[in-house]
């Protein structure tokens, strides 16, 4: 077996994959949140952002394919880890308790992951695999004016926030980046990034519920 397959087949190797793909997905989220913030500045700003993005042409399609590949690797590796971990405890405890290590985020990682997966599918069918004869601003305004979608989006985004709240710190720990010198900075950044991304997206959703005119 080559050193590479041996590494990625090991339990630690799979964690490295989760960390690195998680880091890239986190980077995507930051860019996505920054781009979508143009909605706060109204229809013209948002359409201009969308226009510039699509102006990238085949580069955008290449980026989309890359993103899809990263997502698939993250989901597939996560599923393998989840099933492996279920199998590693063949009999369940009669009494479940936490000694204080777990957080809501860490305890729900596989489940928030599934919520995010379903949410992304809904999100893609809302805005990507849809009739593009109208402008993206009209499509977004129409979908997010409906309280049903507000609810779906807030559930999905809360799941995302919870996932990132553990994932961000966990990513550093899995790559062995841990030292008293900067542990507190990493933890603070975890909350900052998680809070920032979730807040921006949820604010957009709420803004479009109460005032869809901003995109008209």
């Amino acid at each position: 077996m080559s050193w590479f397959t041996q590494t990625i087949k090991s339990s630690l190797g799979k964690k490295y994959i989760m960390s690195l793909t998680g880091l890239m997905l986190g980077g995507f989220l930051l860019v996505h949140a920054a781009g979508n913030s143009s909605i706060f500045f109204g229809r013209a700003a948002f359409l201009s952002y969308a226009g510039h993005l699509h102006g990238l042409g085949f580069l955008l399609h290449a980026a989309e394919l890359l993103l899809l590949a990263i997502f698939l690797v993250h989901i597939l590796t996560g599923t393998i880890l989840f099933l492996g971990n279920l199998g590693a405890r063949s009999s369940r405890y009669a009494v479940h308790n936490s000694a204080g290590g777990r957080s809501w985020g860490s305890a729900t990682m596989p489940y928030t992951g599934m919520v995010i997966f379903c949410f992304i599918l809904i999100h893609l069918f809302n805005f990507h695999f849809t009739d593009h004869s109208r402008t993206i601003a009209d499509i977004v305004a129409e979908v997010l004016a409906r309280p049903f979608y507000t609810f779906i989006y807030i559930v999905g985004l809360s799941g995302l926030g919870l996932h990132v709240s553990h994932g961000f710190w966990s990513m550093f720990q899995s790559l062995g980046i841990s030292h008293p010198k900067y542990d507190r900075v990493i933890r603070a950044c975890a909350w900052l990034v998680c809070g920032l991304i979730t807040a921006v997206f949820i604010l957009i959703v709420l803004l479009l519920l109460v005032n869809s005119n901003i995109l008209v």
Partner: protein, 256 residues
């Protein structure tokens, strides 16, 4: 003033053998002195059961002073019970209330099959240690003092990692039944010292390979292991193991 004597309702996991089906059984214990250790409380239960002509509860124990790593059970869902940095044998009954119901279960993991009642087979941890191999030290006459320079803080960190008694509570507490805290402590105690340096990469590769082969789960950084460890081993060691394995995978000439 707290009563010196308490009564307890126990639910104890009884299982006759590795392939037998186990179940919780209820026992009532009266007149338990709060100065007893948890294991002495089980001793009292076993004397009672013996007098009644019943099979006593099998449980592991040896030194009963918190240093051998032999004892351990899960009390109300927490490995080694509710006190921090305390083995089951050093847990005293003064930490429990009169009339309290306690559920006592064995350490559960696929890699730790139940032998009987609360006794589990932890030889998978020994197999990981064996996979770690040897370190190179000269035998013969005593070496010169300070012949090998070791920075004081590194020695302290190595000693903190070496405090691991291999009880397996980290595996029992881990939601994924991973052995990462144990393996990371064993890797760290040698990786931090110059004496462990020549075999550093081979050790990381072999021990992780053995850990995976024994059927332990994968670390998802839940931090439950650190919270139950009777020796207070930090998950900073797990980060070091992650570094050691990454370094060995990328840079070493070794083949696992």
């Amino acid at each position: 003033m707290a009563a010196k004597i308490i009564s307890l309702n126990l639910k104890v996991w009884r299982q006759n053998g590795p392939d037998k089906k186990g179940a919780l059984e209820n026992y009532r214990l009266e007149n338990i002195s709060i100065d007893m250790s948890f294991l002495e409380m089980i001793d009292v239960l076993n004397e009672k059961l013996t007098v009644e002509g019943k099979e006593p509860v099998a449980f592991d124990h040896d030194c009963r002073e918190g240093i051998c790593g032999m004892c351990g059970a899960v009390v109300d869902g927490i490995a080694h019970g509710p006190e921090k940095e305390t083995t089951l044998c050093q847990l005293h009954m003064r930490h429990f209330q009169d009339g309290q119901t306690l559920t006592i279960e064995p350490f559960r993991a696929k890699a730790f099959p139940v032998i009987k009642d609360l006794v589990v087979d932890r030889s998978s941890l020994d197999i990981i240690i064996q996979a770690g191999g040897f370190i190179s030290v000269n035998t013969g006459s005593a070496p010169d003092a300070n012949g090998i320079p070791v920075p004081q803080h590194k020695a302290e960190q190595a000693m903190d990692a070496a405090a691991c008694i291999g009880c397996g509570a980290c595996v029992a507490a881990c939601p994924n039944a991973a052995a990462m805290l144990f393996v990371s402590a064993k890797i760290s105690q040698l990786a931090l010292l110059p004496q462990g340096a020549p075999e550093r990469e081979k050790r990381a590769l072999s021990m992780v390979q053995a850990m995976d082969k024994e059927g332990f789960g994968n670390c998802t950084n839940e931090r439950e292991c650190e919270a139950v460890c009777p020796k207070g081993i930090s998950i900073r060691n797990i980060a070091r193991l992650n570094r050691e394995f990454l370094r060995a995978s990328l840079l070493s000439d070794e083949q696992g």
